[in-house]
Each structure stands twice: as C-alpha cells, then as structure tokens.
Amino acid sequence: MERDAAHQAHRAADQTDMDLARRLRDADPAAHAQLCDQFGAALHGFAASRLMGDRELAEDVMIQTLADAVRSIECFEPGRASLGAWLYGIARRKIQGERRKLLRRKSVPAGAQTSLDDLNDVGCDGDMAEGVASRLGAAQTVARLSRALSDDQMEALVLHYVEGFSTRDIAEVLKRSPRAVNSLLHWARAKAREALSQADE
C-alpha cells in the first residue's frame, strides 16, 4: 500500500513535470514564473553550498541554469528523471566549471564573505545574535564537512537532505547508478558522523 502510494505520487510528479515542460515548449510566460518559483531559490542554495557560499556566483549559476532549461527544454525526457533532477544536473555542470576557477584563486571571493547584510535575512525567531552565531557555526560545520567528504559525497548529502531527492533523481544528477548512490550516501554519512563528532570534541 505504501508502495502504491509512492508509485502514485511518482506518477503525479511526472505528470506535473510533463505539463510544465509542455508549457515551457509553448513559450508560456506563466511557465517561466512557475519554474523560477519552484526551483530558483533551491538552485541558488545548492550552488552556494558548492561554491564556498559565493552568493553572486550562485545567483549567476542559478540564472544560467534556468535560462538553459528554457532554451533546451526539448532535451528534457520525462521518463528518465524528474524535471528537478534534470535542472540540478545542468546546475551541477556549471558549478563544476566555476569550482575549477575558484580553486585557482588565492583569496576568498567577495561574494563568499559573510556580511552583515547577509546576516539580516537569517530569519530566525530567536535572538539576532543567536541566529548569527548559529549561522556562522553551520557555515563552519559545512566547511569541515566539505574538507572531509569528496565532492560527490557532499553533493549527494545536499541533494538528499536539503532538496529531498529520491535515489533515482540523485543518480540522474550525479550520472551514477542508484546502487552507487546508495553506497555514496552510506559512506558520506559515515564520514559526516566522524567529522561532526570531532567537531563536538
């Protein structure tokens, strides 16, 4: 029963994706807005998490990804993966290119430096200082995780925990098999546990 429900949910999601893709092919402006609203912020976050927090660069990647999606919507094959997985695949390739450029730089890019303006949208209900500290601490933890895990492991964690992608979708984004993705997540968790426990110490 649970499987049937999951199956039906899958089908519904596929149908939604196909409907949106069809409207994008037909150049429906509302489809642009829907795509932007549904995936824009998430893509931005994904890109920022992989680009050392550089917001400007992450926004560039997000906008380029959405523009490429509109331009290349004919290449989307609904049966292979979800629309989100397809978009994240495009974004991932752009991120890889930008990361290669970043790694060659010696200084932290301006967009990656945490400013007070950025901290204003922490948006937590509690104390401002506590929110800022929490944010900075999370950033440090993520940095530690990035050092301990490989790029693929880190991406798999982000896609699984933040974007909520299924194993199938993660496999489509990372261009791996579902079994390889499960293995990747398993080892990523193991290393993350170790890294987090070292931080607590």
């Binding site: 917001r55 997000m62 290349s72 290449c75 929490s134 987090l196």
Partner: protein, 627 residues
C-alpha cells in the same frame, strides 16, 4: 542514532545556505525570456518550405547540365572527336549499301521519330527542313518520301543531291573485273576476281530498267548543279554497269573537267543541324549529332566513287594492254583530275580524304607509293615511304608529256602530306574545339556537385525528420560557425575541382590525366565524409548541458549541411553555366565554318603550302623486294 545524524545534517546543511539577493526573480525571468527560442511555424508550412527549398537547390544544380556529352576522360574525348567530324565514316569493300531500316544512336532516335510529323505540320514548304527530316529518318520509305518532297519543292543542288544519293543507295548493284582493279595481264588475278564475282551472285551487267530511276535522279541533280562533277561521275558508273563503256569514259572525263566534285554533304549536315535545333536540341548537341555521320546515303555514294576510281585504273590497264595507249591515259587522267577536284572543292574531311584516295588510285600506274619496309630504303618522308615511277609511267609521259607527269607527282605529294596532317590533327585531338577537355571537366564538376548536393539533401532530411527541436536545442554551434565548418569540410572537394580544371584546361593528351580524375573523385568522397563527421567532432564542444552528443550532432548537421548545400549548388550552377556558355561559343564558331575551313584555320600554311621534303620521290621504279 541515524535519525539524529540525519536531523543534524539536515539542519546544518539548510542553515548554511544563503538566500538569493533581492531582485533575483526579476533577473531570472528576464534571462529566461531572452533564452526562449522563437516560436516555430506550423509544421505543415515548415515542411512545405523545406521541400520547396530542396527542390529549388536541386533544380539549380541540375538544370544547366545537358543530358548528353562525354566526360573528361581521354577515351571519351577521342570518341567525341569522332562525333564532331565526318572522318568517322569509312568503307573499304564494294557495297556499303544502306539498309532499308537503319538504326540511329539511342539519343537521336526520339528526334528522328518526331521529325517527319513535325516537319509535315510546320515546315511542309521548307525544303531544307524536309531534307533534314529525310536524312534523319530510320525507315527508308519515309526517308525517300521526305527527300523526294524536298527535291521537288526546293529543287536546289543540295536537295537533289540528297535525294539522288538516297535513290542510288538501294539501286541494283553489279560487279565487273574493274571492281577489283586487277591487272588484266595477270591471268591468276583475273581468274580469282571472276570466281569472286560468280560466288557473290551479283550480276555483272545492269538492265536498263534497273537504272531508270537512278539516272533520272542524277540528271535532275546535274541540271541544278552544272559545275559539279559528282553526279556526272555517278552516271558514268551506271553507264559502265550497262556495258556502255565508251559513254562511261566520256562522262568520266566530263566529270573530271568540271571545277567541283562534291557530294554536298556539308549542306546535308547543316540541314540536319537546323532540324535538330528546331526539335529542341541545344545548338552544340545538334551540331555534333549532325556531324557524326547520320546522313544516309553518304557512305554508299563515296563507295561508288571509289569504284569509279578502280574502274578508271582497270580500264586504263586494259587499254594499255590492248595497245590503246591514248585511252589508257584518258582513263587515268580523268580519275586523277576528279580526285584532285574532290580535294579542292569539298567542305568535309571525309570527301577530302576520299579525293586523296581516288587521286592515288588513279595515279598508281604512273606514280607508285612504296613504303620503306618494302623498298628496303630508308624511311621515306611521305607516309613512311616515297613515290616511285609506276609501271606505266613512261607510257603516260609519252602520251601526256613529262610536265603532266610531274604535275601528277607533285599533286600526289601535296595530297599525301595533307592527308597525313589530317590524321595527325585528328589523333592529337586538335579536331576538338578549344577548351574541350575543360568543358568535359566542367561537366564532371556539375554532375559531381549535383550528386553531392542530393546526398546532402538526404542527410539534412535524415537529421531533421526526428526531434528536430531537440537537435537544435542540443547544440551551441551558431550558423556562422556551421558555415565555417562546412567550408573546411568542402575544402578537399574544392581543391580537387581546381586541380581537375587546371589539368584539363587545354586540349591535348598528357600523362596522368586518369590519375587526376581519380584523385578528384577521392577528394569529393573525403569531403562528404568530412561533412558528416565534422559536426560530430564539433558536437563534443558545442553540446549543451543536459543534451546528448547524438542530438548535438544532428543539430550541428542542421547548421553545417545547408551551408554546404548552398556551396554545392553554386558550384554546380556555375560550372553548368560556364559549360553552357562554352558550348554556345563553339556552336557559333563551328556553325559558321565548314569542316575543311576549320582544319585550314587550325593548320594554316602547313595546309595551304604543304612542305614537300627532299627525297620524297625517286625517278626510278621501286626496288624489287620479296613480298
């Protein structure tokens, strides 16, 4: 524990994510709108537009190219020269008679089939067109009917000659000893010739009723063409067949006295050309078809005239044997003179060469051409030999005088030198019009780029027929870049074309021409391969994110192939136009000159004043050698 880890990872990863800066949505929407591909036209409209475009390109490539014509190969050039000259005709043995139903080359048959009806409807009063249709007709009855009409309406020398020649072509035949030009003093040769006559079943005497129609036709021709000795010579032949030998000699002498001796074959060629032109053939094709020897009756008429020459030799020998030395010289002189007049008055090479042969046959007992191999002497300067005094040289001198003998000798030498010049002219392809090989190469280019265009059209259709939009979206290659890739891929074909044109620029046989042709073919194949593979290689770099390489390849093909198709169409069209203009120039130039005028122009003073080398003749009999 795992749940705790999961929760912690989720919180950490989410907390560390910054939100986009203000205004990001507007910026994203603007970029998406700019990236939106243009709205596609209706499918059916696109399909029709594509089909029309392909048809136009294909038509442009193939339209100027004429359906017939040889290519650039040496063999085809040699064959083509034969088709542009009357020297393709030949006939050695007695006979050469026209068949009632002759078969034309395939490319002329449709025109010959349409011609009779065409001229009866539109040119019923035009003797030239009627003559052309008659000369082209395959069926003998149709031929005779049209030529008779032409001769009755026009009554000019050319129409009457064509009709008479056709009547003679199937007139009854006869054989006498003279047909083998035997020596009447050689009993064995005479006996052998008699046996051949008996075995052939051909009568040795004509009946008056057999020659009524031919003689009537010849008399009409003579009346309209009083300066021409040809119909008179033909009449002499039939008088000889009636065994009216004295009259035959008299007419033969009259024929030799007239200033001209022509079959009017050139006029027949012009008539056929005009008819073919009116039937829709191009000017150049019509000219070459007319020259390729399709006029009926010419072969048998020239064969008959050669029989007259043998009769002249035989009767002269018979008269000499019988002590009638004056008659002997009359026969020989008439034959020699007639042959000389044929050379001087004719417009076609076949008649000229026939005249040379007739003069040589008539003079053989006065001046004999012996090759060096038989004489045992050094190689002679005239056709590998030299002239010696014939067996009846002294008799001729005693009757006609030494000056006359020397005149015959010098005339023979000039004739032989000119005949050798004609042979060399034909063998070295100088009989072809200027730029013929280049014209052939242009034909090869037109065909090759046309075929390449067709293949590219198929390739474009194959790349576009399935998920065209996906292909276009999969590649970042622009149209300009696609055109550049097309030009690079076509570079081998273009280089091969330039090389081929350069090699074929001048008429003439040179070593390595066949290899150049093969190399050009290889270059075209290489370009076709490059046009298919270069987009694939380019796809490795131009493939957009999320797209497959195969889709990018198809998209690149859709950008590269149209540019290549345009280049192929332009080259094919350009080569076709250049070829057509070349043909038009030839047709204008050749159409204004007779065949002999062309040769004279090409050879210049070598023709008008042929050089007679020393040691070209010896004032002695030829050495006796074992034969």
């Amino acid at each position: 524990m795992n749940d705790e880890l999961d929760r912690k990872l989720r919180d950490v990863l989410r907390s560390a994510r910054p939100k986009p800066s203000a205004g990001w949505r507007e910026r994203a929407l603007t970029a998406m709108a700019a990236a939106q591909p243009e709205r596609a036209a209706a499918k059916s409209r696109r399909l029709v537009t594509a089909l029309i475009g392909m048809l136009v390109l294909a038509a442009l490539a193939f339209m100027p190219y004429s359906a017939s014509g040889p290519g650039a190969g040496m063999e085809s050039a040699l064959a083509a020269q034969g088709g542009m000259s009357t020297v393709g005709l030949s006939g050695e043995e007695p006979g050469g008679r026209e068949e009632p139903q002759r078969r034309l080359p395939e490319h002329l048959r449709p025109y010959a089939g349409r011609a009779p009806q065409f001229v009866r409807e539109r040119y019923a009063d035009d003797p030239e067109m009627l003559m052309g249709a008659g000369l082209l007709a395959e069926d003998r009855e149709v031929r005779l009917e049209l030529l008779r009409s032409a001769s009755e309406i026009g009554a000019g020398p050319a129409e009457l000659a064509a009709y008479a020649v056709q009547v003679l072509a199937t007139a009854p035949e006869y054989y006498r000893l003279a047909h083998w030009a035997v020596d009447p003093a050689d009993a064995a040769a005479v006996g052998d010739a008699r046996q051949k006559i008996e075995a052939s079943g051909v009568p040795s005497v004509l009946q008056p009723g057999d020659v009524t129609e031919p003689l009537e036709a010849l008399h009409r021709w003579q009346a309209a063409d009083p300066e021409n000795g040809f119909p008179v010579a033909l009449e002499a032949y039939y008088l000889y067949g009636l065994h009216r030998d004295a009259e035959a000699l008299q007419r033969w002498e009259e024929a030799a006295e007239r200033p001209a001796a022509t079959l009017r074959y050139q006029e027949a060629i012009w008539a056929v050309r005009r008819l073919l032109r009116e039937l829709g053939m191009s000017e150049w094709e019509a000219l070459t078809a007319a020259y390729s020897g399709e006029s009926s009756g010419t072969l048998s008429a020239l064969t008959t005239i050669r029989q007259c020459a043998r009769i002249g030799v035989y009767e002269g020998r018979l008269a000499a044997m019988e002590g009638r030395e004056a008659d002997a010289v009359r026969w020989w002189r008439a034959t020699i003179e007639f042959g000389r007049h044929m050379q001087e008055s004719t417009d076609t090479l076949i008649e000229f060469l026939s005249g040379v042969a007739i003069e040589g046959v008539g003079a053989r007992d006065v001046w004999w051409h012996e090759r060096h191999r038989r004489s045992g002497l050094s190689e002679g300067p005239v056709a590998g030999g030299r002239l010696f005094q014939g067996r009846h040289h002294d008799l001729f001198v005693s009757q006609a005088g030494r000056e006359a003998s020397e005149a015959v000798r010098d005339s023979l030498l000039r004739a032989k030198v000119r005949a050798e010049l004609v042979k060399e002219y034909v063998a070295s392809l100088r009989g072809l019009p200027e730029g013929y090989m280049r014209w052939g190469a242009l034909g090869a280019l037109t065909r090759s780029y046309g075929v390449l265009l067709a293949l590219l059209v198929l390739g474009y259709a194959a790349a576009s027929i399935w998920r065209r939009k996906a292909a276009d979206a999969a590649t970042a290659l622009g149209w300009r870049s696609g055109a550049a890739v097309a030009l690079v891929a076509l570079a081998p074909a273009l280089a091969g074309s330039v090389t081929l044109l350069g090699a074929m620029w001048e008429v003439g046989l040179r070593p390595g021409l066949a290899q150049i042709g093969w190399m050009a073919s290889g270059a075209w194949a290489l370009s076709l391969l490059a046009l298919l593979l270069a987009p694939l290689v380019a796809g490795i770099w131009s493939c957009r994110s999320g797209a497959r390489l195969v889709a990018a390849w198809r998209g690149n093909l859709r950008r590269v192939l149209p540019a290549a198709m345009v280049v192929c169409a332009l080259v094919s069209l350009g080569a076709g136009i250049w070829r057509w203009r070349t043909e038009a120039g030839w047709a204008e130039e050749w159409g204004a000159q007779t065949e002999v005028e062309r040769v004279q122009e090409a050879l210049g003073s070598a023709w008008t004043n042929p050089t007679i080398l020393e040691d070209a003749w010896r004032a002695e009999k030829p050495p006796q050698v074992e034969r």
